[in-house]
Every structure is written in structure tokens, then in C-alpha cells.
Assembly symmetry: C2
Homo-oligomer: 138 residues x 2
Amino acid sequence: MAQDRPPSNRSTTQRAAVLRAVESVHTHPNAEEVYRLVRKNMPNISLATVYRNLHLLADEGKLREVQFLGDVLRYDAMTDPHEHFYCRACHRVWDLDSSLPETVLRATERKTHGSIERYALDYYGLCSHCRKSTTSRD
Amino acid sequence: MAQDRPPSNRSTTQRAAVLRAVESVHTHPNAEEVYRLVRKNMPNISLATVYRNLHLLADEGKLREVQFLGDVLRYDAMTDPHEHFYCRACHRVWDLDSSLPETVLRATERKTHGSIERYALDYYGLCSHCRKSTTSRD
DNA sequence: TCCACTAATAGTAATTATTCCTATTAATGG
DNA sequence: CCATTAATAGGAATAATTACTATTAGTGGA
């Protein structure tokens, strides 16, 4: 998870471009994919800058980090609470409307002695396309 | 996520030791930690063997893979459905009883066109200990 | 508008996590 | 017991991310 950092404010063209890149797609891109997107318009941006700004934007709440089993961190411009479906064959991600009732969250807070700041609810399976075109063995 | 593999059967002392190591702790250890545990009794086991067997045992359903945002894969000997609380400060994990009602699962299956095989519900926050001893900024 | 300050960047090296490779070892079935 | 071959040990290779550092460029004030 992105560590908290002292708040950063200087607004750079690179930071804006990284945010716009994630917002421009619905694929929940990882750092490498964001790098490829941004380089179309900003060929000299460095990969380290992409990583730094993705973390920063996540800390600021402008992006949401998501990660699926065995996969690398990805970024989601949809920051409102919602869940994900991850296809284990094609590795595509679908956004789902929030399905976790408040009652469940409250119950969990009672059971946990810690304070809950956020949660991730991720479903795994085969998407309709991959269910047709592959065997169940990936 | 562990890819499916052709079923493996030859039972080795290394494989048994890896399984026992994960079962012996409640910390949801990662590969490196399992390696350290196993080496106490089996000093020559190789790290690659630990990785291979962890994947294999997960495929066989004897272990469950878990992963939290920004962290590496960990392994859980509790394979029955349950949820996790992950402390973002000390990175310890707590098991929670299942709190996701069947009605929610069914509703999600209706919304998803894919078939759901499993899900992960992970809560993030500060555990009671870290809430006292750290500021909210990790 | 210019300047001084310093946060942020580009480019690259280093680190971390994981997988791959291969000669050797050992589990298994006959 | 062998013969077969899956699995291992050890190390090299790869992939993902972070760290390092000289240079660039936002920013706030004169």
C-alpha cells in the first residue's frame, strides 16, 4: 500500500499527465502501462517519475491503488467505493457497484479492535469471454 | 494468483516441511519467511523449492494465497472462507470470521457475466497496538 | 519580470521478489 | 533392488520497484 508521505504540492506537467493517463482508460493500468500511455505525448518522461506520481496521487486520494493475487499494483481513477471482478485468464478487471452493505462494515468494525480505513472486495473467476474460449485450466 | 498446473503427486520431505511451516504459524508468512522457518530443520532447502511448493500447495487447495496492497504474496493455512484485517503500520494480519453473506455473493454473480470462483475481502487500517504507538502517518 | 530556493525530474544504478535453468538426487512402481 | 523421471539445490536470469544524483523547472517574493 502507498505509504503516507509529507504532502506534496508543486504541480508539474508530468504529474498532471500521469493522472490524465489513468483517467483516460478503464483498464486499471499498472505503472508500465501508464508509462506507455504518457510517453505518447511526453516522450521523455521517466519511469521513475511515473512510479513517484502514481504513489503521490494515490496518497492524495486522486487515484486508488488496486492489486489482484499474483499481479502488480494497478491504478483506478474511480475513487468512490466499489468492487472488482478480475478474470484469471485475460487479467482484465471490471468495476462492480458497491455490494458490501453498511451493516457488514459495522459488524466487522465491532469484531476488529483496529480502526478500518478502507477495504477491498475482489472477485476472481473467468469472464464470459474467457469462459467460452479457454478450458477451465487457464 | 497461482496458475493451475498438472497435478503433482510425488511426496517429498521438502513439500511436507513447507506445509508444516505455514501451518505452524498464524502470521500469514511470505516465501522468505517460510524459507527461514523451514531452514531451522532443513538447512539445505533452497528458496526455489519453497516457492515451487508454496504454489503447488496452493493449487492443491492445502494453502491459500493472500496478498495485501503493496505487499508480496503470503500464505494462509486456513483455507475455509474468511476475511482479513491488515495493519498498514506493522503489516500484521488478523483472520476474521466470514462476514460476507451469501446474498451478497449471489447478487454479484447476477451482476457479473463471468463465473465467480473465489473472492477476497480485505480490511485495511491500524491495529489497536499501532493506533496507540504511532501517529496516523505510519 | 526576475531571482533564489528547492521540489521534482531524467536517467540510471541498485534492490527486491520471483522464476528459470540444469546437473544431481531421491520417490515410486514394477 | 533397479529404472524412470519428478523434484531438488544452487545459481543465473528476469521483472518490478525504489534509490541515487546532477539538472531542470515550479513558486513565492523582491
